[in-house]
């Protein structure tokens, strides 16, 4: 997607990965989407759960080997 913001949080543990997503989102207008690379497995699931709890829209989460790619939209 052209102009899409990408955040590489591979190797960043909870809660800092979630905090960085929040900070990035706070600078974007509603409707903006960012692509985030996270550590895979439980870490990504946890971040996804917390994003949903805090009213962000998770468009997709895909586990790719040791990482996960998540698309998050600001509601």
């Amino acid at each position: 997607m052209p102009g899409e913001k990408f955040l590489d949080l591979a190797g960043t543990a909870c809660p800092m990965n979630f905090v960085r997503i929040k900070i990035a989102m706070s600078k974007l207008p509603p409707g903006a989407v960012i692509r985030v690379r996270l550590d895979g497995g439980a870490v990504a699931d946890d971040v996804k759960r917390t994003l949903v709890e805090q009213n962000y829209e998770v468009l997709s989460l895909e586990q790719e080997g040791e990482f996960a790619i998540i698309f998050v939209k600001k509601v």
Partner: protein
């Protein structure tokens, strides 16, 4: 043991209280409190007990001071970043009150050391941040007959309970929760958020309870779980009763020794 002029001056605001007086101050001075965890709860507890003139404070913590601790762990500061928490705690305590004897254990409170650690103290404060340790504190204190304050904080919510083992009106943690709730090793994102002053409020309550039990005044939170919702700023108490079938504090306990694997 009589108070020096300087001590009379220092503790004057305690001594003037009808419920305390010089006898109460002497009980505080003779008191020894063990604090498990020099973190969000342990920090204010240690500071206020030191200020009150507690005789001895034991600090148990295996961690080093990290930047994100400074948001709520007011025992520590930028000059102690990277330092062992017990040492950081001791330094700060000594600055507030050099009369306090500080004993440090830069270790994790564990099934192997718990009974030995609590043995020499009169009151224990659970300042830990995970269920396994909270249950270990509970079990060890019940077995050793040591009064203690349980507390926990998460987000804007917190709770506290005081336990004096052996008393009919004092349920322990397992009277309410017989089994340790299962929890992943690392806290989930949502569980790592805590508002500093909420932890501070509860740690301060824990210090108050310690002083009350040591000086035998007032009504400690025996059989009363104090719950705070700091967003609504509402305090509630939930009445609790001893469980005659409690695994650890009943007449026929199932838990009679501390097994390492039970707290992992």
């Amino acid at each position: 043991m009589s108070l020096t002029d300087q001590q009379i001056e220092r503790y004057s605001r305690n001594i003037v209280l009808e419920e305390l007086g010089p006898e109460g101050q002497e009980r505080i001075r003779a008191g020894k409190v063990l604090i498990i965890g020099a973190g969000g709860l342990g920090s204010p507890a240690a500071l206020y007990l030191a200020a009150a003139g507690i005789g001895a404070l034991g600090i148990v913590d295996s961690d080093r001071v990290e930047l994100n601790n400074l948001q709520r762990q007011i025992l520590h500061n930028i000059s102690s970043l990277g330092q062992e928490k017990t040492l950081s705690a001791a330094q700060r305590i000594r600055l507030i009150n050099p009369d306090v004897e500080v004993r440090m254990w830069q270790v994790k409170f564990s099934a192997e050391n718990a009974l030995e650690l609590v043995r020499d103290f009169d009151f224990v404060i659970d300042g830990s941040d995970n269920f396994a340790t909270k249950f270990l504190v509970n079990d060890a204190c019940v077995m050793a007959g040591k009064p203690f304050s349980h507390a926990g904080v998460l987000g804007f919510k917190a709770q506290a309970l005081t336990v004096i083992p052996g008393r009919d009106d004092s349920p322990c943690l397992r009277c309410v929760l017989p089994e340790i709730p299962s929890q992943d090793e690392t806290p989930t994102c949502a569980q790592s958020g805590v508002l500093g002053p909420v932890a501070g409020t509860l740690g301060t309550i824990q210090a108050t309870e310690a002083i009350k039990v040591l000086t035998r005044v007032g009504e400690p939170l025996l059989g009363r779980l104090l719950h705070l919702d700091a967003l609504a700023m509402k305090f509630q108490t939930v009445e609790l009763k001893r469980d005659p079938a409690c695994p650890v504090c009943s007449a026929k306990p199932q838990i009679t020794s501390l097994e390492k694997q039970a707290y992992e």
